[in-house]
Each structure stands twice: as C-alpha cells, then as structure tokens.
C-alpha cells in the first residue's frame, strides 16, 4: 500500500512579484502516507499547498497525481475533486448548515442525487462526531466543530489525498485535541495526508515523514525519530527546539 507515490512534486517554483516564495521544492507522498510539513511562518508552506491543487498557479515545476501531470491538466476542476483541502480559517460556507456544507460538493460538483448526498454527508458528519450539529450554521459552531465540518466536507468528496493547511492554528488550545483526534483517526484509516502543522505531538506520533521547509526550500526531510533525535541540519534543530519551547514537546 505505502509504495506508489500518489503525489509527486518536482522542482516547484513560485514568485509573487519580486519575492521568490518557492525556490524549487520536490518531494513525494506515497499512498496511505501522512507527511507533515513544518517551517517558520512566511516560508511558503501555504503557497506550496495552494500550488498543488493550483488554487495558486506555480511558475515552474511539475505536480503529478498518480500518473497525471496535473500542472498541465485541461480540467483542473476535475482534479480538485480528487484533492481535499482543509483550511486554517475553516472556509465553511456561512450561509449553509453543517450538513449543507458537506453536501454542496456532492450535489453541485459530483451531481449526486440530493438524498444520496444527504446520506453520504450525514455519514461523514457522524465520522467526525457532529451528526447532532448537522442543522447548525457555522456561526453557531465552536472552532473545533467548524474544523471538523471542514474535514467532513473534504472527506465527503472521497479524495485521494487531503491537504491540511495549519488546521488547528486558529483554534483555542482546548479545542485543538478534538481536531487532531479526527485527523489521527483518518491517518490510521489509511487516508493519504499532507499536513502543514506546528503540532509536534501529531507530527511525532502520526506522521511517516516530516519535511522541514525554510525560505522556499526543503531544508531537511526524514522520519520523525531522525528529525527529532539527530537532525542533519543545524537550522532544523534550532527550529524544532523553538517549537517545543512554544508548544511543548507534545505527547
């Protein structure tokens, strides 16, 4: 299972005006794998995720999803259905209930029958423990609940991989756990995940590999044990030390 690269990013580059944000980033994500990306803020992590499903168009480089070169895809909307995205600020549709938030991709994009979509959406809400909140609007949910709806919405599309952009960074500390719990569950069920996060506990216990990014480059990547115990790069060590000061060791 964990052998074929499901996602291949090759030499990805992106600049905003003068500023080169991604300076040639390459890595693979294998099927069923959970990869965590860490790095200081402003380093290009969000840009990297956005370039993968081309919410931002990369300037150079290739992104492959299985055997498709999606940076050249004719119909990117089709491709995006296969790549889930979970946002730092949740990105829930304010005018729709939790249930409708999860359903809308199924009815409008996948054109499923309403009743089928409702069943599928309810099933996803059940998975993230929010069946009873189905008829509440985003503004009526806590941050942790919002993010779990966000995850359910991504899951409902039955994506091949889900990209998470700091899914717990906007949450009050006491709400982070419930979201990480859902994500851990997902990882264990075999979902392929690429997660930008500062949650070291999650990175340590769930990820198969950690990528440390800085200034538009990948500085170092490797297994959690290797990066935490004996990183090759001095910058990696410094950054991880700073993180554990800020957020604790996380176990």
């Amino acid at each position: 299972m964990k052998n074929n690269p499901l996602l291949r990013v090759m030499n990805l580059k992106k600049r905003f005006g003068e500023k080169e944000v991604l300076k040639g980033v390459s890595f693979n994500v294998k099927e069923g794998e959970t990869k965590v990306i860490i790095g200081p803020s402003g380093t290009g992590k969000s840009t990297l995720l956005a370039c993968i499903n081309q919410l931002v168009n990369p300037d150079e480089g290739e992104v492959w999803l299985k055997d498709e070169l999606i940076t050249q895809a004719k119909d990117m909307n089709k491709i995006r259905q296969r790549i889930g995205f979970v946002f730092q600020d949740f990105g829930l549709f304010n005018h729709l209930t939790a249930l409708k938030n999860v359903m809308i991709g199924l009815t409008k994009v996948k054109k499923l029958d309403k009743n089928v979509a409702r069943e599928k959406a309810l099933e996803q809400l059940r998975k993230v423990g929010l069946e009873r909140e189905a008829d509440l609007y985003p503004a009526q949910l806590s941050g942790g609940q919002k993010q779990r709806v966000g995850i359910a919405r991504a899951l409902a599309m039955e994506p091949e991989i889900i990209l998470f952009d700091e899914p717990t960074s906007a949450l009050d500390p006491e709400l982070i756990g419930e979201v990480l719990y859902v994500m851990k569950d997902l990882a264990e069920s075999g979902m392929t995940m690429l997660v930008v996060t500062h949650e070291m506990g999650f990175a340590r216990s769930v990820s198969d590999e950690i990528i440390f990014m800085e200034n538009g480059y990948i500085v170092e990547q490797g297994s959690p044990e290797k990066l935490f115990k004996n990183p090759e790069n001095e910058r990696t060590r410094q950054f991880l030390n700073k993180l554990s000061e800020l957020y604790g060791e996380g176990d």
Binding site: I79, K108, P138
Partner: protein, 226 residues
C-alpha cells in the same frame, strides 16, 4: 378647521384619481426596481468577474449614470431621442430611465456586498472542484444578496420617491394627479399634504416588509458587520 375639511373633501372627491396615480407610481417603482435589480446583477458581476472588455463597459456605464442627474437622463430619453427615431411614451421613457439609473446604483451596492464576502469563500468553493460560475451562483451570491437587502431597501425608497420626477415628462403617476387636482381646486397645501402622507404610508409599509424579509433570510448566529 378649514384645512381638515378641505383634506377630507379632497380624499372623498378625488380618491379614485389619487389611487390611480398611486397605482402608476407603484407600477413604475416595482418594474424599475426589479429591472434595475437584474441590470445591477449583470453590471456588478461584469465589473468584478468580467474580462477587461466587460469591466470597462460596466464601469463606464455605472460611472456615467451615477455621475449625471436623473432628470437629465429622463429628458434625454423623452425629449432627446425622438429626433433619432425613438419615441417612447412618457411612461416608457420614465421606466427606462429609472431602470438604467437604479441598475447603476444597485450594481454598486451589490458590488460592495460581493467584495465584502471573504475571499476564503471563493477559494473553499474552488477547492471542492466548483467552477468559478458555480462558486458565484451557489456560494458568493446567496451571501451577497442577503447582505445587500438594507441598501436595497433604501434604493427602493429612493426610487419610489424619485418616480415623482416622472410627472415632468408627463407620466400619470401620483404627483401628476396631485398637480391635476390642485390646478382645479387651488388647494395646493392640502393636496400635496395628502400626497405626502400617501408616500409616507407606502414607504413605511415597504420598510417594514423588507425588514421582515431580512429577518427571514438571516443566517442564524451570524451578525453581518455593517
């Protein structure tokens, strides 16, 4: 108490005429607001999401209309176009003028409302695989239209009052009827007072109605920042 007697007299004697005038006023207002609404949506979407050509056309149109007096627009339509072969009736000229004028204003209200919707809504919609058009229809517009209701209520009230300008080109609306009555009994004060009260009642009614609409479609838990 001469005044009160006169007023009662006017209402008793002329209510069919006044009612007819009010009917025309309401008809003009409703057609213009709805026409302006459709025009406003087209203009706002073109200005925000259109290609360069559409953006220039819609921006130019909006700015020209908002930058010139409504009365001048009505005069151009009614008095200015006939030599060029377009001879609208007073009613038609007024309606066209009001639709064009209201469309430009409604476009700007709607544009402000659309731009106030957080960009993350569009990004999230696209991340699900929605096309831009789908995102606009299913995600952006349902929120933008809710937000525009207060501005839209104001626009409706303005337009209702501005239809009184149509009497100048001779459309038989409420003001025209008032002028007709006053020119017969010379009780200008009382006649226009009655007309003012009629406008006021209608406006209060619609303000209440739109307030209810706003409450009805309000998203639970969410307070718009105004």
């Amino acid at each position: 108490m001469v005044m009160l007697e006169r007023i009662i007299n006017i209402v008793e004697k002329f209510w069919p005429v006044l009612l007819k005038g009010l009917g025309v006023t309401m008809e003009m207002t409703l057609i213009s607001v709805l026409g302006g609404f459709i025009l406003g949506i087209v203009l706002a979407l073109s200005r925000i999401y259109g290609n360069k050509f559409l953006r220039i056309i819609s921006t130019g149109f909006i700015e020209i209309i908002r930058g010139t007096p409504l009365l001048v627009q009505l005069f151009i339509l009614y008095f200015g176009l006939p030599p060029y072969g377009f001879k609208p009736s007073p009613f038609t000229a007024a309606i066209i003028g009001f639709i064009i004028n209201s469309g430009a204003y409604q476009a700007e209200y709607l544009r402000g409302s659309i731009l106030s919707i957080s960009r993350n809504q569009m990004i999230a919609a696209r991340s699900l695989g929605m096309t831009r058009k789908q995102a606009i229809i299913h995600v952006i517009m349902p929120q933008a239209l809710r937000r525009v209701i207060p501005a839209w209520t104001n626009e409706f009230i303005y337009l209702l009052k501005y239809t009184s300008l149509a009497y100048i080109v001779g459309a038989p609306e409420l003001m025209a009827q008032a002028k007709f009555i006053a020119s017969r009994n010379f009780q200008f004060f009382e006649v226009y007072l009655v007309v003012a009260v009629i406008y006021l009642i209608v406006i209060l009614f619609f303000t209440w109605l739109f307030g209810r609409l706003e409450k009805k479609v309000k998203i639970p838990g969410l307070e718009w920042v105004r």
